[in-house]
């Protein structure tokens, strides 16, 4: 058991060192979001800068991709999800009521 744990820990340590963007894979801290969102505003948009591309594995964790996601998620998407859930729940309730009382309205 100890041997297995030590092997697992070794693998984790090696993975931690190898993975280039390991810090960004850690559980997301919402308090960091505001800092990360502010970053693009401070970076001057110079054409000579290296632009992260979709094929760059590190690019996915750059703040530039965090910003639109953080802005897109808000209210309309939440309302869309709430609307769909409410309809699904209402249909479920109606179905249950109908099964309990199939002759209702006859």
């Amino acid at each position: 058991m100890k041997k297995l744990l030590s092997v697992l820990l070794s693998v984790l340590c090696v993975a931690w060192m190898i993975l280039p963007a390991s810090a960004d894979i850690l559980p997301f801290d919402p308090s960091e979001l505001e800092n990360e969102i502010e970053v693009p505003e401070e970076i001057p948009a110079e054409p000579d800068e290296e632009v992260p591309t979709a094929v760059d594995p590190e690019a996915e964790d750059q703040p530039l991709t965090v910003e639109p996601t953080a802005e897109r998620i808000p209210v309309p998407v939440v309302i869309l999800c709430v609307g769909v859930v409410v309809i699904a729940l209402a249909l479920l309730v109606w179905l249950i009521v109908r099964r309990r009382n199939p002759k209702k309205g006859a």
């Binding site: 709430v82 409410v86 249909l91 209702k104 309205g105």
Partner: protein
């Protein structure tokens, strides 16, 4: 008489809600979030209100209270959020209550439904364009609230319980029709009308919507739901997808598109005749998520055309399938003594 009063009340409710949002609420400052809140209250809650209405069955009182609530939301000196709560909840309750009364009294016809739903479009447009007219609508709405109660209590007990019997397995048609409403809203949100620049052109477009909804019920009674869909939806799809840049094709497209609205609603009611409030509320609830989804899909050109055509194609397939399934379900019901169908 009650149908005419409910139709006028529908116009007043939608006009007062729009006048509140685009009048006092807008004047108070940032409105984007409040408009989202209003639409969520007014639309997404209708299926829940419908479930409650089908159990309580006091549609006259509910409609009357909703009218007063909406008038108060416009006229009282309330903070913007409270105004939105008043008019949003009032709108939701009135639509379900008025729609339930109309469906129950329709005698199995779609015509009255079209007459009831159509004036709302004019109300919304006038309320948005002329918010100050709300001071005219508010006292009339209170008067209508007073008149609705005695008229609704005079309804026959037969109509209040609906004469039709529930079909054995309506779930798939109900889901398909609900999806059709949502998908049609997605397709409708993608299209824009660049020629709609002034007040008069907005009113003309609204008149086409009103005429389409009103005619839709009668066309459905005359041709049946399947033929109505076949006549109207392909024409609407082509005219709206490819002709929205010009006035006349757009007007004809809106007329044809709105013909199907009472057809879908009436089919939903036929699928669940024991739950008129839920049938009406479910269709309205599906509109808002569909509209939001359409707003979140930034398409132009051919992509927008394809989405519009696909949404309309789904609508016609849903109506055809549901119509056939519901008819088969109704035919399979055993004959009943004192049947009123």
């Amino acid at each position: 008489m009650l149908l005419i009063l409910n139709s006028i009340a529908h116009f007043l409710v939608d006009a007062l809600c729009a006048a509140t949002v685009f009048g006092p609420v807008r004047a108070a400052g940032d409105t984007a979030l409040l408009i989202l809140l209003y639409n969520t209250l007014a639309f997404s809650t209708q299926c829940l209100v419908g479930l409650a209405a089908d159990r309580i069955r006091r549609h006259g009182w509910a409609a009357s209270c909703a009218l007063v609530l909406v008038a108060a939301g416009f006229a009282l000196p309330l903070p913007p959020v409270w105004r939105i709560l008043f008019v949003g909840c009032g709108n939701s309750v009135f639509h379900v209550a008025g729609g339930s009364m109309t469906l129950e009294d329709s005698g199995g016809r779609a015509g009255p439904l079209g007459v009831f739903v159509a004036p709302g479009a004019i109300g919304v447009t006038l309320g948005m364009l002329f918010p100050d007219w709300g001071w005219i609508y508010a006292p009339i709405a209170v008067l209508a609230a007073v008149l609705i109660v005695p008229l609704s209590t005079r309804r026959s007990p037969q109509s209040q319980t609906s004469g039709q019997r529930a079909i054995p397995s309506p779930m798939l048609p109900v889901i398909l029709l609900t999806l059709a409403v949502a998908v049609r809203a997605v397709g409708g949100s993608v299209v824009s009308f660049p020629w709609k620049t002034g007040v008069w052109l907005s009113l003309v477009l609204t008149l086409a919507v009103w005429a389409g909804k009103t005619a839709g019920g009668f066309v459905c009674d005359r041709l049946g739901p399947a033929k109505s869909a076949i006549v109207s939806i392909p024409a609407a799809a082509l005219l709206i997808a490819f002709g929205s840049a010009w006035i006349l094709p757009s007007l004809a497209g809106q007329f044809a598109l709105n013909l199907t609205m009472p057809v879908t609603l009436w089919l939903l009611y036929r699928a669940m005749p024991d739950a008129p409030g839920f049938a009406f509320g479910l269709a309205a609830s599906a509109l808002w998520p569909g509209t939001i989804a359409g707003m979140l899909i930034p398409l132009t050109g051919p992509a927008a055309w394809i989405l519009t055509l696909a949404s309309f194609l789904f609508g016609i397939l849903a109506i055809l399938y549901s119509s056939k399934t519901i008819q088969r379900g109704e035919d399979s019901l055993p004959p009943e003594k004192e049947s009123t169908i």
